[in-house]
């Protein structure tokens, strides 16, 4: 892979020497993304590097708000026939984008039409699986992918008289630790971000249990939710009991709990591996990344966890020449250099095997122990039909329903069984509507 870098570097020099001040008639490619702050800067840096590496294409990146807002902006723009070339869509919008035949141009097709080099085998299976058809064609390019892990505040454990290196591979072991931390007077032994993603979607995949029928929606629009089986009910009920006993503190639907953890108030925190950037810069205590716990005795556990994050979709309705620019940019993003840098800076997973290897060879994992936990967790086992990912229509709304029902469990209004049954029933109605809209 490395030999590819040299031409870029050479042309960068050539470009800066010869053409720097003149804005040549480069073909413009619009790229709408959902990143602000540190991540926004990193994206801008990637775009600048690409733009200065060649003169044929100019990527124009624009932030369009958060994930939902970016998707909406893309949809509204498409309706007004002013869509960007590349649109960042979060993983729950995948089914919506797939259903939009005529609005999107699959990545494998973009690459083939542009005559660009493209090897789908270079991408990590459990990452690309989310964005690939059952026939193995890649529809969108994975951009930022993360997976949930367990963050540990070692100082808080020490304070509670718990060995900070105690084994917490299973939820049973976590339960014992929580008992001790609570007994020592902690207000927040455990908190979480993204409850549906971590405690239902990933829980199901990690235990090789279906979240929805029809291979979690991969095999057809007539899928039905199935996350009210014994495993999930038992897990949510346990969490509900912990909430009642003050061992699990619920902070909000998104990653509100992160503030509590980073401030050192919570001992344990289930959050995305991409929480790394924030935690490493803010935490004034010794922290550690552990694999997401699983239930001892559950058949097939631990399987692999699934991803969250976003991928890049190419929109229909542009010139061939512009698609060549898109192909060149997407290939550039997949290079080992760009990917390993992204992975090391953000805690997001590398999307190619080569980038993972490069990071290891660079010695990053040795210097930052625990940063490879997420990669291992994702890639240790070949994904099954239950752990390839989720492909459900209206999934953003279904997550909203799940959030509501889980809140009812945390506040003690409902038992886990009642809440999950209700979430399944309400979610199924939305799936049926999505099926009708996309017939």
């Amino acid at each position: 892979m490395n030999f590819k870098i040299k031409p870029y570097a050479l042309s960068t020099i050539a470009a800066s020497v010869l053409l720097a001040p003149t804005a040549y008639a480069a073909t413009e490619v619009q790229f709408w993304h959902a990143f602000t702050g540190r991540l926004g800067e990193l994206v801008a840096e990637q775009v600048d590097t690409f733009n200065s590496s060649q003169t044929d294409y100019e990527i124009v990146a624009a932030n369009k708000g958060n994930y939902s807002e970016t998707l909406n902006a893309g949809i509204a723009a498409f309706r007004a026939k002013e869509q960007p070339h590349i649109l960042m869509v979060f993983e729950v919008g995948t089914a919506t984008m797939m259903g939009a035949k005529g609005a999107i141009k699959p990545v494998y097709e973009v690459m083939a039409d542009a005559g660009a080099e493209f090897d789908a085998g270079a991408y990590i299976g459990s990452v690309k699986g989310y964005y690939t058809t059952t026939e193995g064609d890649m529809l969108s390019l994975p951009f930022n992918s993360s997976t949930p892990v367990l963050w540990v505040n070692k100082d808080a454990l020490k304070e509670a008289g718990v060995d900070p290196d105690v084994d917490m591979s299973t939820w049973q072991q976590v339960g014992e630790v929580l008992d001790k931390v609570k007994a020592a007077g902690s207000d927040c032994p455990l908190t979480t971000a993204w409850q549906s993603w971590i405690h239902l979607e990933n829980l199901s995949a990690y235990h090789d249990t279906p979240f929805a029928t029809k291979d979690n929606g991969f095999a057809g629009l007539d899928t039905e939710l199935a996350f009210n089986s014994e495993l999930q009910v038992q897990h949510i009920q346990t969490m509900g009991d912990w909430a009642k006993e003050g061992k699990f503190m619920y902070a909000g639907r998104r990653n509100e709990g992160g503030a509590n953890f980073r401030a050192g108030e919570c001992a344990l925190f289930t959050e995305s591996s991409a929480g790394y950037a924030g935690i490493s810069s803010e935490a004034e205590f010794e922290f550690e990344v552990r694999p997401l716990p699983y239930w001892e005795g559950a058949k097939g556990a631990p399987q692999n966890t699934i991803i969250g994050g976003a991928s890049l979709w190419v929109m229909e309705g542009h010139e061939d020449e512009e698609y060549k620019g898109v192909a060149a940019f997407l290939n550039f993003l997949s290079t080992a250099d760009i990917q390993s840098k992204w992975h090391q800076n953000t805690g997001y997973l590398p999307i190619t095997l080569a980038a993972g290897k490069k990071t290891r060879l660079d010695g990053f994992y040795d210097e930052n122990p625990g940063t490879d936990i997420a990669v291992i967790q994702m890639t240790a086992k070949e994904p099954t039909a239950n752990s390839k990912g989720l492909r459900l229509g209206s999934f953003d709304q279904i997550r909203g329903i799940i959030d509501e029902e889980l809140e009812a469990v945390w506040s003690g209004d409902k038992t886990a069984q009642v809440a999950l049954d209700s979430a399944v029933e309400r979610g199924n109605q939305l799936l049926r509507r999505f099926e009708r809209a996309n017939q």
Partner: protein, 293 residues
């Protein structure tokens, strides 16, 4: 006999009302018509295809227990916002009206919050009541009260009501203050000479005399609570916990722009249109009779 002034011809009157008609047509009738039309379909988000479902969207909505609950939530929310924004405003106006020195300063200070946009007001209140860093929730914690609007329905409702009503108090204050200034001094003085005390004068004379303003504010505030509190709810609770603060207009947004379910969203706007129409009719038919101009 009522005197009527009549004008000849129809061209000039038509020309004079034309701009207003045009604005209504472009900004009201056209979008409303579109919403009604769209409510009969289940379209895909990109506008590539759509399925005609007749009244299917409405059946789906009214079959949903959470949607029906949203009516109750909306009613409760609107009544609370209206009361919480009207009563303190009236009280402040009465006090400011009696001020002799520094009335302008007080008046200006009281009007300030109106300049704050709902979304920003929402964030301000969220900061004060944030379960972790909020000043108010910290003091409540010191008093032994565990504030958690993230999980507690009533606290969440209380917070969005206060945050929504806060800025409106200024607006209402302004109108009440102007109305109080317009109450003839002679009437009030006559009552005073007859021995009526302040509160007696207020309830028997001042309140009936400012009733047109009160009625106007009632209508305007209910409309505000229905449609413009969206920013506050979005920033503070996003409609949660469970659906405790999901008012009708917030659901239109979340189904349409988060869920991409444009058919259901359009049907909800039609329902909302009917509800507001009915309410306005009721208000004018029954309440207005009690108003003395």
């Amino acid at each position: 006999m009522e005197k009527r002034v009549t004008f000849k011809g129809w061209l000039l009157p038509l020309l004079l009302v034309f701009p207003q008609l045009l604005i209504s047509a472009v900004f009201f009738f056209y979008p409303a018509g579109q919403a009604i039309w769209q409510s009969l379909f289940i379209p895909d988000p990109f506008g590539l295809s759509s399925q005609f479902v007749g009244l299917g969207n409405f059946e789906y909505l009214f079959g949903d227990r959470y949607y029906r609950a949203s009516f109750f939530t909306t009613a409760l929310f609107s009544i609370l916002v209206t009361l919480v924004s009207l009563i303190p405003a009236l009280l402040l106006a009465v006090i400011a009206d009696r001020l002799i020195k520094g009335a302008t300063t007080y008046r200006t200070l009281l009007i300030w919050p109106y300049a704050v946009a709902p979304a920003i007001a929402g964030v301000l209140w969220l900061f004060m009541f944030n379960t972790r860093v909020g000043v108010v929730s910290w003091y409540l914690g010191q008093l032994g009260y565990d504030w958690n609007h993230v999980l507690n329905d009533n606290e969440a409702m209380g917070l969005v009501v206060v945050a929504s009503a806060w800025g409106r108090i200024s607006y209402n204050f302004l109108f009440f203050y102007a109305a109080l200034q317009a109450v003839p001094k002679s009437v009030v003085e006559a009552a005073a000479i007859d021995g009526a005390r302040f509160w007696r004068r207020f309830f028997s004379i001042v309140l009936p005399l400012i009733s047109p303003t009160t009625f106007f504010l009632l209508v305007v505030n209910i409309v505000y609570a229905f449609f413009e509190t969206f920013g506050v709810i979005h920033t503070i609770t996003s409609g949660g916990p469970q659906q405790a603060t999901t008012i009708l207009v917030y659901k239109v947004f979340s189904d349409g722009f988060v869920g991409q379910d444009l058919g259901s969203s359009a049907a909800q706007s039609v329902v909302l249109l009917v509800v507001v129409g009915l309410m306005t009719v009721i208000q004018f038919k029954y309440l207005e009779k009690r108003v003395h101009y």
